[in-house]
Subunit: 230 residues, 4 copies
Amino acid sequence: MSKFESASQEAQVPARKDVPMKDRAEATRQRLLEAAEAVFAEFGFYRASISELTRRARVAQGTFYVHFRTKEEIFRELVRQLSHDLRRELQEAVVPLVDRKDAERVGFETFLSFVLRRRNLYSVLRECESVDPELYQWYYERLAEGYVRGLRQAMAREQIRRLNPEAIAYALMGLFQMVGMRWSLWQRTMPPEDVLESIASFVLHGLDPAEERPPGETTSDATVPLEGEG
Amino acid sequence: MSKFESASQEAQVPARKDVPMKDRAEATRQRLLEAAEAVFAEFGFYRASISELTRRARVAQGTFYVHFRTKEEIFRELVRQLSHDLRRELQEAVVPLVDRKDAERVGFETFLSFVLRRRNLYSVLRECESVDPELYQWYYERLAEGYVRGLRQAMAREQIRRLNPEAIAYALMGLFQMVGMRWSLWQRTMPPEDVLESIASFVLHGLDPAEERPPGETTSDATVPLEGEG
Amino acid sequence: MSKFESASQEAQVPARKDVPMKDRAEATRQRLLEAAEAVFAEFGFYRASISELTRRARVAQGTFYVHFRTKEEIFRELVRQLSHDLRRELQEAVVPLVDRKDAERVGFETFLSFVLRRRNLYSVLRECESVDPELYQWYYERLAEGYVRGLRQAMAREQIRRLNPEAIAYALMGLFQMVGMRWSLWQRTMPPEDVLESIASFVLHGLDPAEERPPGETTSDATVPLEGEG
Amino acid sequence: MSKFESASQEAQVPARKDVPMKDRAEATRQRLLEAAEAVFAEFGFYRASISELTRRARVAQGTFYVHFRTKEEIFRELVRQLSHDLRRELQEAVVPLVDRKDAERVGFETFLSFVLRRRNLYSVLRECESVDPELYQWYYERLAEGYVRGLRQAMAREQIRRLNPEAIAYALMGLFQMVGMRWSLWQRTMPPEDVLESIASFVLHGLDPAEERPPGETTSDATVPLEGEG
DNA sequence: CATGAATGAGGCTTCATTCAT
DNA sequence: GATGAATGAAGCCTCATTCAT
């Protein structure tokens, strides 16, 4: 994990003096990252070739290796970028809110819209499990961390029920991710209003502290059909 | 889609002594499938090589092509097998149950235990999105279909609230899948009791028809923190 | 060292049954070895390319890797072959001889003729120091071993003076090797008769037990010019 | 050959403060040569890269081409340097001596100590055969020239026997070079005293004019074992 | 059916060298 | 003179697939 923590978005270029060449290099690097985003999304990591990538970035093949050591490295860079950007968008959207309903909707929709707007980048993440499982795990653990923090706070304030926060964090991440896949990725639209409503309602009721009742009654009369779930 | 429907139900468990002539062939085919499961899980589809696969199956490389046309084909076969086996296990476990709480727990736990017991096969599915997105989508659509059917029924019987069933189906699939990843795949254990409890509680309350209240009040006092979700 | 000892000249091919295919494989392998000998000699190890090598062997590039794992591996195989062949020729030529003068001349000339006849293979050895220094060392250590054995015997029989046998072994190997380079490799001929005579005379006197005299006199009147020697 | 003659004697040891303008350039050039010596010795010519070389010299890659036209060129420069330095050391050590025994020992040991002290530079020479065979041959021919001159003199003075001087020159160069490899290069020490003694004794007797006897008797009773020699 | 040698396209990467600053 | 980004040719090697036995 620690190996990813350190390496963030700063320019890798040494740049002894602030020569203009640094700018040129940085621009090339950016072009490569953008091309990679597109090419990985279109072909997948393994079927994507460096030569296709550099063709799109309009640089020579060798130039790639001036900026990245391997195909894996630029891939990881993209995943980190995604992780960073998504988290920032979510925080900026959610943190100012105090009303629970708003926060939820906004956070959820921010995520969905992110997936939609940045389809390509988000696709890269999805393949990460196969390309670099450790990084993939790191991504979710970091996300879960923040989530857990938020949930604990809300539990302390009795805004939501006391449940295992990690369990709930993963549950919600999974939930949102699958909905994002179904509509933002597959269908390339935001989910229809009633879908958003249903999800929000499901989540809010699932967490609502008012729902607390004697355990005996909790599950007495409903049956959740579970024919197939994973 | 049709391309998967057709081939999906061949005899996976051949009679060892039925047809003396076809016997050896079928055994070889099985050995290849088992080797493929292990090799794909260990290396991933792209890094796995036919030669490694046949080495494990203890057959010559050429033998592979007697039984499968391409590397993709055996991969698809495995995904279909998974789809089939998982669905069967779930049905056998859940269908007899009438109590809602039991059904839920059992279904959820059946899934988790499936992932745990058949780690390798399940890993294959996870890579399917990158190898054959169409098949991946088909897998989830089929799963969702059954799920939706069950949800509709439960709604009709007023065992759960009336929500968009497809939305809920995907939400729950995502939820379970992520929990399965977190504990069954990463940690290689069943989730601890309190995690199972929290998830079950969250889901049941999320669906409980008793929770219905005037929309105005629903979300008045709690804030779900959404710093990062997916 | 030990890593080379074990791997000798046997066919690497597994060959469960003695199918004719084994022969075909062995023939291909031989063609590759022969091509390698020529190509390495012509271009040197580093400038030689697998594609040139396979072109000469009239097989596809990929075929190379059916028989050898890397470029280094086929190179090592050639060095081992050289080591083996040369040692055999020397033994067959020298062992039957009892007369010292004959043995010397014959051994020396056998070596020179070997270099001449198998120029290509011998060139491969010369590059070995740069390609695989360990193997190169092994080659000389093995050669020296045999040499030392012979020298000890001769000393025991008082056919030659008692000197450090390892020192003399390396001295003689160096001597012969340099002469081989000068005439057999550079000039592509056997050295002229008087060169052979001079070397033989030098070596025989250098070793002759009759030369033993009081140390004081040994070096009293001659000066060996040493302006440059390595 | 002529292509090496011309460039061989530039000022290798520039005055650090003589010409203020050229100073920096010459210093950079030196740094490159020193780095090259280390890098070629460590990796060998082919595996050494200009980028590694400039990294060690702490200059930019492009700087290399300000001072040398190609990778081969700096390599050749090093060989010439070696040739020059070694010859100088030998002359300085040997020329003042008159006693034959002293001269021999001193020359031989000077060479061995040179190899030991300047391991890296000497390693460069050893690879020269593969990198630039013509230069390699030139190196030995020059060395042999001087050697032959010295031998002729000694023969004229009847300090040593009349033998083909070129043959003896190459014989002795080979002898010394192999001993240098065995001890100075491989073992990184000077050879033990008895090894030096044995070699010296062998060489002196080999050349000693006192040994002259009727040809019939010369080799009548000793057998030099020659099992393996190159 | 089974075998395993042969194929050849294609990928990643290295690296000497150039050139604008 | 020094810099370092850019170049593109070339190499090694992998691997899915074919085919003669």
